[in-house]
């Protein structure tokens, strides 16, 4: 029975249920539902306890960032962009800064390259730690989130020490990074990596060798490999389907070409496989962070001098800078008309497709109780959809 379930591919066409027939029930999951990630809602049409149709509704967190950015100076947008994906602000900071540097022709010092890489890997770990709690919680496993959020807090302590902020680090500034590492920082990083790793070992035992989790996650939300290009799927969701794409390898930005790591790929492409792949990527994060601590230059400049931010004009042009975040391809398209403010900034978040087109299709035929688990297994953040 399990084997058949593995290969269930939801229909491409939407059902057109007659809501007046009394056979169906329309229910909203979210935006305030605890089983939904963030302020998003799913409009479900269910027949009995299975979902017949699903529509994603976003907009509860729309703050008009792209419009706001067009009225602010280039440097004034630096504290704004981090808010576009709350659990992973650093990817916004990096993509924005890198796009500006490319358009303005600025080379950043090597130390800044390493510290940016460190910052991105630390937030990747923190974000995965939050996700794993959500994933376990969506299947009724409330212990994991207490552990993993504690671990995440330790990583946030590191950010607080490095940048002065826990959630919005505002550390990757156009031109480099905002400060050198404080004394003893690398030692703290290594200590906390040891703690997190030990905790991950426990999580692995409790969650991934858990009959309940296995029964519920295996076979859920199967994504065929040929969907990857068709839906624009990226990140762990694509890798779990056996498509070996990782922008850290493919684009080779920052210090990644100098780090030793392999793209992790899965095969079964269900919720369990995706979760397991993310767990492996968390171990990979810890390994990368240790490598970075080992290789990061101990001194040297960490920032390029920029023109006066009050009048900084960036030559006309456009670029698209992408990075591999926890969920896949995160990118900033930045167009300048040569003035002191951006002409257009467009943010490409992986959730844009994962939470809308992909989720709507995968939900068809799923048990209501599994909708939350399915949703979390796609690892989506609504703010990057609506911006």
């Amino acid at each position: 029975m399990k084997k058949e379930k593995l290969r269930v591919i939801p229909p491409a066409e939407r059902a057109n249920p007659d809501l007046e027939s009394g056979k169906y029930l329309l229910m909203w999951q979210g935006p305030q539902h605890p089983g939904i990630t963030g302020n998003m809602s799913l409009k479900l049409i269910v027949e009995g306890d299975s979902v017949v149709d699903c529509e994603t509704h976003v907009g509860y967190l729309h703050r008009g960032f792209e419009k706001l950015m067009e009225r602010r100076l280039w440097m004034q947008n630096f504290p704004l962009v981090c808010r576009i994906a709350v659990p992973e602000p650093d990817f916004n900071e990096y993509c924005y800064a890198a796009a500006l540097e490319e358009l303005a022709g600025i080379q950043i010092p090597d130390k800044a390259v390493w510290l940016r890489t460190l910052s991105l890997e630390m937030i990747r770990l923190a974000s995965f730690l939050m996700w794993i709690g959500g994933q376990a919680g969506a299947f009724g496993h409330g212990t994991i989130i207490q552990w993993s959020v504690t671990m995440r807090d330790y990583v946030l302590d590191l950010f607080e020490e490095l940048s002065g902020g826990r959630i919005y680090h505002m550390y990757i500034i156009p031109g480099g990074v905002r400060g050198d590492v404080p004394a003893g920082f690398f030692k703290h990083v290594l200590e906390i990596m040891d703690t997190v790793q030990k905790n991950l070992d426990d999580i692995e035992l409790v969650m991934f060798h858990n009959v309940v989790f296995k029964m519920r996650a295996e076979g859920l939300g199967y994504i065929p490999a040929d969907w990857v290009d068709h839906y624009g799927i990226t990140g762990p969701n694509a890798r779990a389907a056996g498509v070996a794409r990782d922008l850290r390898k493919d684009l080779g930005y920052l210090a990644y070409p100098r780090l030793d790591f392999k793209t992790i790929v899965g095969q079964k492409s269900d919720a369990y496989e995706r979760a397991r792949l993310r767990l492996l990527e968390m171990y990979q994060c810890i390994d990368l962070i240790r490598q970075i601590v080992d290789q990061c230059p101990k001194d040297g400049p960490f920032r390029e001098k920029l023109p006066n931010p009050l009048y900084w004009k960036i030559p006309a042009g456009e670029t698209y800078v992408a990075a591999e975040c926890t969920r896949g391809e995160y990118g900033f398209y930045v167009a300048s008309d040569g003035s002191d403010k951006p002409r257009r900034v467009a943010v490409r978040g992986p959730s844009y497709t994962h939470a809308v087109a992909v989720m709507e299709r995968l939900a068809r035929g799923v048990n209501i109780a599994d909708v939350a688990g399915l949703m979390v297994s796609l690892h989506t953040y609504p703010p990057e959809i609506e911006r």
Partner: protein, 177 residues
């Protein structure tokens, strides 16, 4: 890559190939060739991944410039395809059959810019701006600050002084303007 530029020019009248980076180029097309060119790029040239699609309001030129960013993982190369459409009659072919997530971007562009994509699923439905009655908000002629000032009250007690003006009032009020 210049061979690709030549092929795109010959087949679809593409022009203005610009290498922004070794792994990123931009090109411009006429809007009526857009869907065919994107299908060709996807099927024949390996640009199978649509990173995102959006628009820029080039109000000075009276056009919306569409932005389609494609990536070929095999070549390790991204290509941004541009096409201008008339700001007064903003309609362009839908690509929802080429990529399964494209309709979301088109729905967004409809809501944010007022660009229509006939045939695109749910293109007229609200996307993020539930209950919004103003003009398409990403248009350059929609002044968000003026809207905000007209719609919301300032917090009472806020007042600021310009240093130069304040010093003039304090130190040399007699000087002529």
């Amino acid at each position: 890559m210049n061979e690709l530029a030549t092929r795109l020019a010959a087949r679809y009248g593409a022009r203005g190939w610009h290498d922004q980076r070794a792994d990123l180029a931009t090109i411009v097309l006429d809007a009526d060739r857009l869907r065919d060119a994107l299908a060709y790029l996807r099927d024949q040239e390996g640009y199978r991944h649509l990173s995102f699609a959006t628009a820029i309001d080039n109000i000075e030129r009276g056009v919306f410039t569409l932005v389609y960013t494609l990536r070929s993982h095999d070549k390790g190369h991204s290509l941004i395809v541009h096409a201008d459409i008339d700001r007064q009659k903003p309609v362009v072919d839908s690509i929802h059959l080429l990529w399964a997530q494209a309709w979301t971007y088109q729905r967004e562009m409809k809501e944010w810019y007022g660009i229509d994509f006939p045939g695109s699923p749910r293109v007229d439905e609200e996307f993020v701006l539930e209950g919004w009655e103003g003009p398409p908000m990403m248009r350059r002629d929609f002044d968000s600050l003026a809207y905000s000032d007209a719609t919301y009250a300032e917090r009472p007690g806020r007042a600021t002084s310009d240093p130069a003006r304040h010093m003039k009032e304090q130190l040399y009020p007699e000087a002529a303007e």
